[in-house]
């Protein structure tokens, strides 16, 4: 029986967006003010951008390594495999949210790194399922992309974590000027 790749497409997209947003919001949460709008908005945007880029790279690499399969089945088959694999992020996003908002943890990079690595493994399995044979080169490709992105997150997090407080400072400055209060020295 032919698999309907469009079935549940909306749900898969929604779950993926939510997962990356939750991961971004949790990662950049301010411990003193966990629902600070600056941190929440910045986290959601960074999470979505990161997820979009990660998905593009995974799809790109899998297309590159499976040219013949893509020609036969179309790019929808690659997209379906990657999007199904992205569902694996759900437990990691949920656990990260619990860790930050219930257990008050501040160190969350492990959740993102393991979640992304799990997606990589799952993408290789999904494409193997579609081709009806598991190939080592797909595991290498997806693990390589996942490792690169988990490294990118770990590395950039240190610098990006400073941005929400700068945004807040900038907004307060503009508000002060606009209200006629000037800049307090």
């Amino acid at each position: 029986m032919e698999l309907d790749m469009n079935k549940g497409k909306g749900w898969r997209n929604l779950v993926r967006w939510l997962c990356f947003m939750v991961m971004g919001i949790s990662a950049f949460a301010n411990q003193l003010d966990t629902f600070s709008p600056y941190n929440v908005v910045f986290g959601a945007v960074v999470g979505l951008l990161f997820g979009w880029l990660f998905r593009k790279f995974l799809r790109g690499f899998l297309s590159l390594f499976n040219g013949k399969f893509k020609k036969e089945k179309g790019k929808e088959a690659i997209r379906y495999a990657v999007d199904s694999a992205m569902l694996f992020l759900t437990p990691f996003a949920a656990m990260m949210f619990i860790a930050v908002y219930y257990l008050n943890w501040s160190e969350t990079r492990g959740f993102v790194a393991t979640g992304i690595m799990a997606v990589g493994t799952a993408a290789a399995i999904e494409i193997g399922k579609a081709k009806e044979k598991q190939e080592f080169r797909n595991t290498i490709a997806t693990s390589g992309v996942s490792f690169l992105f988990s490294f990118l997150w770990t590395l950039s997090y240190v610098y990006l974590a400073k941005v929400p407080s700068l945004m807040e400072g900038g907004a307060q400055l503009i508000r002060g000027i606009l209200s006629g209060g000037g800049v307090s020295l």
Binding site: F88, T90, P91, M95, L103, F111, A118
Partner: protein
Amino acid sequence: MKQRNLSAIIDVKGLYEIDKNGYWSNEMRKKVKLVENKKQSLFRTVFGMMINPSGTLKNALLSTKWYFSVLISGLAFGLFFGQTGLDLYKTGQKGIGFVWLSGAAGIVYGLLAIPLIGFFIWTVLKMSRSDRKVKETISSFCLSYSGALVYGVLGIVFSLALGWKTSVAFGVTGVLWAIGPMIITIRELTGGKNTLSVPLATAVGAVVLISWSVFGNL
């Protein structure tokens, strides 16, 4: 062509076909490979479940006894909770007795709570008309903590040898690493349903994280 010894041929109970030079036919080699795969070691199962769970699971269920699977989760959580006790001891919050107590509590957690969660998963699978046996489900579920066992062993080595605080860096990472194999395991048990495996793995992950944290705050 590689020549094989006679004892291996006896293992496959008379299914052999040898050509005039004493070599196996291609078909014969495939059959022996199948038998050899079924008899994979516990060591290979643990690493296989960590790296390639879908490929390992079927053979693991044939070759690993259920009590070995439960032992894997018991040891994994024993080491994880033990490291939590060690971290609290190093920061002066708890005494040495707590280290032993936490290790023992972890073993009990892995031997009882994890199989119990496995039983809960089996009941959910049963409701979704799966024909999997309870022993098979619990065994598979416990095996998905193989990655946590590997991280646990590494963590305890770093904790004891280098004095690092490892309960989060190694312990929690190990439990997180187990999530991927867990989703794949549940999906294999449900015949490939993501709609069941992802929510179940999310619930189990949350329960394990919260229960461990409650223990750490005792």
